[in-house]
Subunit: 582 residues, 2 copies
């Protein structure tokens, strides 16, 4: 046994006990006559003490040679600490050291192992094994473990069965790019790594598994935007003999359970909002509803008043920024510059100050009188002291721009509180999405999503208007889960494939096994998948997922710690029946 | 809601209730005036009844059109069953059907959905989604879920943290062949899929994670022997600040917990046996100790008696087969043929019948008298009525041959009971193994396994004699787990790499990150990995793992259901900077 206790558990009750501890030298303070060492492990920090009066001289000398991050084993007596440290759980005691063994030496780490480190992102990733010693990273990984365990416990208690689906599957042309794995035993053929276990979970429903879940790695070979990873983790679920309502209730239950068990937060029934309403009220299909600032559409009250910019716009829409009337001219100009940044892309911004005396002062006073502006205030819900910000243009673009402004203002006003949780369901998504480049429709969710009952015929006449039995779970402005009721009959699936531009041959080659399966008694079924990395980060009150992943990759898909990917031997290429191409 | 109850939960207490059920038509029995339907789902079977007296004629007519595996929803009343079926939990009741909806039709399945199916292995694999509807497969998957959940619960309660390690890693030359994944973003470079998270779990220990576990898919691109899969699942664990004793105790605890919770079996402290003793007593490093028949070495009592075959042999060794003295001459001849099969490879077998009157009758009576044979009986522990089977030859070969015979005889005698569990630890494995073909040593466990204290110097003089801090957990003749105390200092690791034939440059290129990590304060650590597929199969009392895997691959590494691997588009090859080679 290397230790009798860990570094986080000794208290005043153990005073006088003989103990053995092991851990890392976090800090050494040498005052000549007395040396204190902070010994650290996963569980905490315990102070060791050696002094001229009570400690063997050789031992005291040895203590002075210890460097940061040396691995140490000590035996000693738990004693009461003269100056207690109320900030740490072990702060009432210290260990009077009697024996000390250096289990391993350590080079000086390239950055400090402290909550706030001096190491930059690159250095931290290269030495991730040292970064993990830091509290914020370590706690994030422990937190992730707790969330995973609770998810599994809850779903298992609800009768869900954890079934492992294969990682070496078949490439499909639908969706993102696959990672491929050349087969040695089947020359010229390739496996693909799954983008999700979608077809397998549907086959499990055909197989009568009834309720399935899995916490599973998925893979997408996409150009990585910030905070995306080529491999990511999904909580993947599917249920048979269910309608949308059953799924929403089940996974609202899971989410509520997590919020309560993990965060101690009780939330009311989740609001439900249609995709169309979400776009109208928030310009966004994953609205953050921790705060208001809902969109007010102003076409009816702002158009046809000689202001050409608005008259020629498809949509005029504004939000009321609380307290914004006190902004100086300079501050407002900076805000206008902000919306004109390429990342937002607005051409300009009209504003109205709602003065405390009930009057309005706008940047378009030339075109609108006080009564007009009062109508704007009503439409946006603006109160005295607010600033109404108005954008105009093409509906989709202007909504996205105003959504960006709404989020920015909420951020500046401190309304996006990390410890507040506002989940909601977004429902009634469009079934298809128009690819503006190609003019083709593709599945907004995926090709197995069922249209709303009775809307199948609409596919021929107005495909963009068809709504799907699809739903997203949104938390604090992030989509944390999404799913749908699936098509479970072969005929509907064939119609869908046709509208997605698959020839019958292509559909058969790619999804033949699924369509075959549907002939042998497929039950009605549906499911959902949660992005675990994101869910954990949001529950942990963080914006980025990287510290909730033990060994993340950088934006080029590289693991800089192990230096992967890497070149391989020619023998390996030969065995796989492939060659490099320039 | 498609159902108010599932097909396994209605009992006499619910008689008179109005219920809605959904499931698959398992069987229809039409007696003209009355029709019974067995409706099946994951939870059980409930009998539906329709008859001329109580059921609408159109409904009765509809019931006659139902085919096997149709998906059905029915509403009706729970009534008492006239002839109860004590064999199923719902056997006291049936449902008098009032409404019936066919949710989906079904083609006739290619094999019967029964416990004993008429479908062969190939057909079952092609239609695995139908195979999963069969009780034995479904129950195996549910059983696997229960084992996984218990493993996670136990380890988490013991303070282990579930940390996900990456799947896209770096190829290493050590061990089996890697599956490789070409990188699109890093032209000419490849990721590898992990054969195990070995280096990552060691880095987590360097990172202070203290206790790690993960249930994780691993990948080996090997020519598949029967009952091996290219992707398999490991329970992967690692602990810091431990010695071998700590690991053995912890995972003996886990195994005992599983046996108790899952099988209701209490087992005593696990025996521990050295590798050398296991080979001597059972000819096998994964002995099945549910039964005796330990080896008796006979060199001292059987050599130098004019029997040349024995005199020239390195080892003469036998086992006592209980009750075998009653074998006829013909049966014994068949046994001799069995040991001479190429799979076993013995050149012959000497036998001794231990007669009930205390006399011996052997096939070598010409060379050995009754006193000699009495000594053989003593050495093999043979009792009156037993048959002593003796093989001879080169030590390693003859041990393997006698081990095969021992297992075969136990099987024939019904001593390998599926519901009996006899776990043990095999310890003190050799550190290195001689590759007879190349004459080089390689790591028996893996290159990070530490030698026994004080044996490092032996590496230079007698590498084959060096023992490792390595251990296997063996259950009923199968290795279900194996691990070691790792090397945690850079110097020892460098010595190991040298003896394994890595140049310093090769070692740095492949494992540089691990050796670097060891410079920054690596704690003493060790771990273990269990093969989950095998563990679950053995706990489930089965010999083969395939039915405990939802979607297994065949011996050519193919998934015959989805038809993977498959050819891919040239565009995909181009993007990955590779070309096919003939």
């Amino acid at each position: 046994m290397f230790r009798s206790h860990n570094c986080g558990e000794l208290r005043a009750a153990q005073i006088e006990s003989q103990v053995t501890l092991a851990g890392w030298v976090h800090k050494v303070r040498d005052k000549g006559f007395v040396t204190w060492i902070d010994l650290r492990d996963r569980y905490g920090i315990t102070q060791l003490v050696l002094d001229a009066e009570r400690t063997d001289a050789a031992l005291l000398e040895q203590a002075r040679t210890l460097g940061r991050e040396f691995v140490l084993q000590v035996k000693g007596t738990v004693i009461e600490r003269a100056s207690k440290n109320p900030n740490i759980p072990t702060g009432e005691i210290e260990i009077l050291v009697a024996e000390m063994t250096v289990l391993n030496e350590a080079l000086t780490p390239p950055f400090t192992i402290e909550d706030d480190t001096d190491g930059g992102e690159d250095l931290r990733m290269k030495y991730r094994y040292l970064d993990i010693r830091r509290n914020p990273v370590k706690e994030s990984l422990v937190f992730r473990h707790k969330v995973s365990m609770e998810v599994r416990k809850y779903l298992s208690d609800q009768g869900f069965i954890d079934v492992e689906t294969p990682y070496l599957i078949k490439s499909t042309p639908e969706g993102a790019r696959d990672f491929l794995v050349p087969s040695r035993m089947n020359a010229g053929q390739f496996y693909a790594l799954p983008q999700s276990p979608q077809t397998f979970k549907q086959l499990l429903m055909v197989g009568g598994m009834d309720k399935y879940f899995q916490i599973v790695k998925c893979f997408r070979d996409e150009d990585l935007r910030a905070d995306r990873q080529p491999e990511f983790t999904q909580i993947d679920c599917e249920m048979a003999f269910v309608e949308q309502e059953d799924i929403l209730n089940t996974f609202e239950g899971l989410t509520r359970h997590l919020l309560k068990e993990i965060k101690g937060v009780e939330v009311a029934a989740f609001p439900r909002i249609s995709f169309d309403d979400a776009m109208r009220k928030y310009g966004n299909d994953k609205p953050d509803i921790r705060f208001g600032m809902e969109f007010g559409e102003l076409n009816a009250v702002a158009q046809h008043k000689d202001f050409k910019v608005f008259n020629s716009a498809e949509l005029v829409v504004g939000i009321a920024v609380p307290g914004g009337a006190s902004y100086t001219r300079k501050e407002i100009d900076k805000l206008i510059d902000w919306v004109k940044r390429p990342q937002v892309g607005a051409l300009g911004m009209v504003y109205v100050k709602c003065n405390d005396d009930g009057s309005y002062k706008s940047s378009v006073d030339k075109f609108y009188d006080q009564d007009d502006l009062a109508q704007w205030a009503q439409a946006t819900g603006a109160q005295k002291g607010d600033l109404i910000c108005v954008l105009s243009g093409d509906t989709n673009k202007v909504r996205a721009q105003l959504s960006a402004l709404r989020m920015e203002m909420a951020e500046r006003l401190g309304l996006r509180k990390a410890d507040e949780f506002a989940p909601l369901w977004v429902v009634d998504f469009p079934l298809l999405e128009l690819d503006e480049e190609t003019g083709h429709y593709h599945a907004m969710h995926h090709p197995f999503t069922s249209p709303k009952p009775g809307q199948l015929a609409l596919l021929d006449t107005d495909p963009g208007a068809v709504k799907a039995n699809a739903y997203d779970l949104v938390l604090n402005g992030n989509e944390i889960g999404g799913g749908s009721i699936r098509i479970h009959d072969k005929e509907t699936q064939a119609i869908m494939f046709k509208h997605l531009g698959f020839s019958p041959e292509e559909a058969k080659a790619q999804f033949g096994f699924l369509m075959d399966a549907f002939q042998y008694g497929a039950p009605p079924h549906g499911g959902i998948a949660f992005g675990l990395d994101r869910l954990v980060a949001i529950l942990g009150g963080q914006e980025t997922i990287r510290d909730f992943i033990a060994f993340p990759k950088n934006n080029s898909g590289r693991d800089v710690m192990i230096d992967a990917p890497a070149t391989i031997d020619n023998d390996q290429l030969d065995e796989l029946h492939i060659a490099l191409k320039d």
